[in-house]
């Protein structure tokens, strides 16, 4: 590797540090939250009481986990906006298409 490489990369890491990344402690806290949510999900699964609401509850919980990991572990919260666009764009697209196809197959909405 040429030293220009080391230069550019150390510049990169400086840039990253300037992004005020959370430190280990914050990371651990986030992990704990994730663990708790997972626990909650499993609990909900066994709660006969909330059977009627189980689907929305579970979907919301996993959406929270997804967002936490993407925002903090993947640094989208601190990184260049273009990355968020490159990722969330197709994510939304995939979700929309999925919903459309499902509604067609289950003969609701579009498929009515």
């Amino acid at each position: 590797m040429s030293e220009t490489n080391a230069v550019s990369s150390s510049k990169e890491s400086r840039a990253v540090r300037e992004n005020l990344h959370p430190g280990n402690w914050e990371y651990v806290q986030i992990a704990v939250v994730l663990a708790i949510i997972t626990g909650a999900e499993v609990m909900v699964y066994y709660q006969e009481a909330v059977r009627s609401l189980i689907v929305p509850i579970l979907l919301i919980l996993s959406a929270c986990k997804f967002t936490l990991v993407a925002m903090f572990f993947m640094h989208l919260k601190f990184d260049n906006r273009i990355f968020s666009i490159f990722f969330s764009g197709p994510l939304v697209l995939a979700f929309a298409v999925m919903m459309a196809v499902l509604s067609l197959f289950h003969r609701v909405l579009l498929g009515a």
Binding site: M1, S2, T4, I82, P90, L93, A96, V97, V101, L104, F105, R107, L109, L110, G111, A112
Partner: protein, 635 residues
């Protein structure tokens, strides 16, 4: 190729160097990879054309006996698959390779070795797909291979479908790798001052196309994986006996397939949007509108796939909704056409072959667009679907559109690539012969369609009223064939004896015309600073005041006009202290490994993978690891 001397001449002693054929096999130079793409794509264009001529010969007369029904099914399947995946897409990619880095003022693409990898994967995938002819039989279920006709119970006479599945997977890897590369290149390798809104339209459309590719192809990949698992491992994705819905394939395929249509047409639209201004000596009319309408088409491409399934009984709501979205997509398309006319309006049209093809594109594509609107209305579509009307429509779009656009590009950039002009007389003969042949072939198919002739039938009785138009179509097809031969002759002779082009034969407006033809392997002696939308024009004609900000002469290798000095060589990268990535054989090995892996699956009918897959995998890992840890000299 004329570029050979120039580019090989320039590798420095201390760098790894390869001579002769190896200088092409191991090249990572985007221009050479582009040439490889172009030559291969034209070769497969001829193959696909041959298949088309056989199809037309069979249908020339009722009860034709040129080929049998099974061969006929193989022929039209391979014709479409070849034209879409082995010819038109790679031809667009060859222009991405040759032109985009030059238009944005870059020395190469972002990942030169990934670029080489894409090409070799494409070549090996294409060979894998076509080798099916040698192993019992080619794919035979149409280019959109509707399940469950592709499933073992109904398609086990040959391994054609297995070749199709695996071949398309390999080609998918190539297209994806290429698209990732161009996205990063356009986002990250633009010359200083080259903002998005200063990018030439072809680069814009490359950007949109690449986005469509990287997001649409995974959907097909999943469909192909499911089909492959059904055939190889006995899964039930499309097996009605297990309660599955074969229609799932239609959704997965068209979710890819409709963006694919725009993947095929947008690059051609980009070429036309670059050719028209150059040959009318006027800037593109409504640049931002044209660019954004391209982006809009890219977005809408995702909301219209069901219009391929209006006869699948999805219900009135689905039919209505997707009919409306489909009609909506006609708006940005129309806007482009009007802006193109606006561009030539008031210009001084330099009637050269590239312009003829660009105008031909507008004229023919308009017809395809209008028949598209007719197909967008479900009740009308119920009459047209799966008849020759659809065959006519799709050819007016993909031939009258894409192929006209690509030929415009070939005549436009050939001088830049080879340093020599294509002959005008032969060019015009090619254009007029092709235009006449094209309309003779496909216009009658509208009539045949409304006269109830189904597509993909190998024979038809007389007395249906189809005899005359089929004969006309066949005559037209052979006329097209003749015109293509004229082109091939023109290209082969011009590449050797064509008259010298010089840097800027067309009075061009964009960066690629600033540098010698063929360009030195480093492209730009000094990366230009871009002050406006049409940097070269701005520098040649400051008085026209197109500069956004006051026009400042752009630094050019040796000064634009007297570029003749580069006709034989010129300073090498090392003379100028420009470091270029070394050639590398790892991409080639990795690509070979990938192809072998898939071929092995096929021949072994895994599991377990035959020895070939194992060798392939080893090859692949060796290639990838060598690639990653390859010490990179240069820069």
């Amino acid at each position: 190729m004329a570029t050979a001397e120039h580019t090989t001449a320039t590798s420095h002693p201390k760098h790894r160097r390869f001579g002769g054929i190896w200088s092409w096999v191991f090249t990572v130079d985007h221009k050479r990879i582009g040439i490889l793409y172009l030559v291969t794509a034209i070769f497969f264009f001829l193959v696909g054309g041959l298949e088309a001529l056989l199809v037309r010969s069979q249908l020339a007369f009722p009860g034709g006996t040129v080929v049998g029904p099974d061969t006929f099914n193989e022929l039209f399947t391979m014709h479409a698959t070849t034209m879409v995946f082995l010819s038109l897409m790679p031809m667009s990619v060859s222009f991405f390779n040759i032109v985009v880095p030059l238009q944005i003022g870059a020395r190469d693409v972002a990942f030169p070795r990934l670029n080489a990898f894409s090409y070799w994967v494409y070549l090996f995938g294409a060979l894998l797909l076509n080798s099916s002819y040698l192993f019992g039989g080619a794919p035979n279920a149409g280019w959109f291979g509707y399940a469950n006709l592709t499933e073992l119970p109904f398609n086990n006479a040959t391994h054609g479908i297995d070749f199709w599945v695996l071949g398309l997977q390999v080609l998918g890897v190539s297209s994806m790798a290429g698209a990732f590369n161009f996205l990063v290149t356009i986002v990250n390798c633009r010359a200083p001052g080259m903002t998005f809104m200063r990018m030439p339209l072809f680069t814009w459309m490359t950007l949109v196309t690449s986005f469509l590719l990287v997001f649409a192809f995974p959907v097909l990949t999943v469909g192909l994986i499911e089909l492959m698992f059904d055939r190889f491992f006995g899964t039930n994705f499309f097996n009605p006996a297990a309660g599955a819905d074969p229609i799932l394939w239609q959704h997965l395929f068209w979710l890819f397939g409709h963006p694919e249509v725009y993947i095929l047409i947008l690059p051609a639209m980009g070429i036309v949007s670059d050719v028209l201004p150059t040959f009318s000596r006027k800037p593109l009319f409504g640049y931002p509108v044209v660019a954004y309408s391209g982006v809009a088409i890219g977005f809408m491409a995702w909301g219209v796939w069901v219009h391929h399934m209006f006869t699948a009984g999805l219900g009135p709501v689905a039919d209505a909704v997707f009919s409306l979205t489909t009609m909506l997509i006609a708006v940005p398309t129309g806007i482009k056409i009007f802006n193109w006319i606006g561009t030539i309006w008031g210009g001084t049209l330099n009637m050269k072959t590239p312009l003829y093809f660009a105008l031909g594109f507008i004229a023919m594509f308009t017809i395809g667009g209008l028949s598209g609107v007719m197909l967008a209305s479900p009740p009308a579509d119920w009459l047209e679907a799966d008849t020759y009307f659809v065959v006519a429509h799709l050819h007016y779009v993909l031939f009258g559109g894409t192929i006209y656009g690509l030929f415009a590009g070939i005549y436009y950039w050939f001088p830049k690539v080879t340093g020599r002009m294509l002959d005008e007389t032969f060019g015009l003969i090619h254009f007029w012969l092709m235009t006449i042949g094209f309309n003779l072939t496909f216009a009658p198919m509208h009539v045949l369609g409304m006269d109830g002739m189904p597509r993909r039938i190998y024979t038809y009785p007389t007395g249906m009223g189809w005899d005359l138009w089929n004969l006309v179509a066949t005559i037209g097809a052979f006329t097209i064939g003749a015109s293509i031969l004229v082109f091939v002759y023109n290209a082969m002779s011009s590449v050797r004896f064509g008259k010298r082009a010089g840097a800027d034969p067309w009075d061009g407006r964009t960066l690629e015309w600033m540098i010698p033809s063929p360009p030195p392997d480093y492209n730009f002696v000094q990366i230009p600073y871009v002050h406006g939308r049409e940097p070269l024009w701005l520098e040649k004609h400051p008085e026209t005041g197109l500069g956004h900000g006051h026009p400042v002469p752009v630094p050019i290798a040796g000064g634009a006009p007297e570029l003749g000095e580069y006709a034989n060589g010129g300073p090498t990268a090392d003379d100028l202290g420009i470091h270029l990535p070394d050639p590398s054989y790892y991409p080639f090995i990795a690509a070979l490994g990938l192809a072998l892996t898939f071929a092995g699956l096929l021949i072994g009918k895994a599991p377990p993978p035959s020895w070939m897959s194992v060798v392939g995998l080893l090859c692949l890992f060796y290639g990838v690891y060598g690639w990653i840890f390859e010490p990179v000299t240069g820069y």
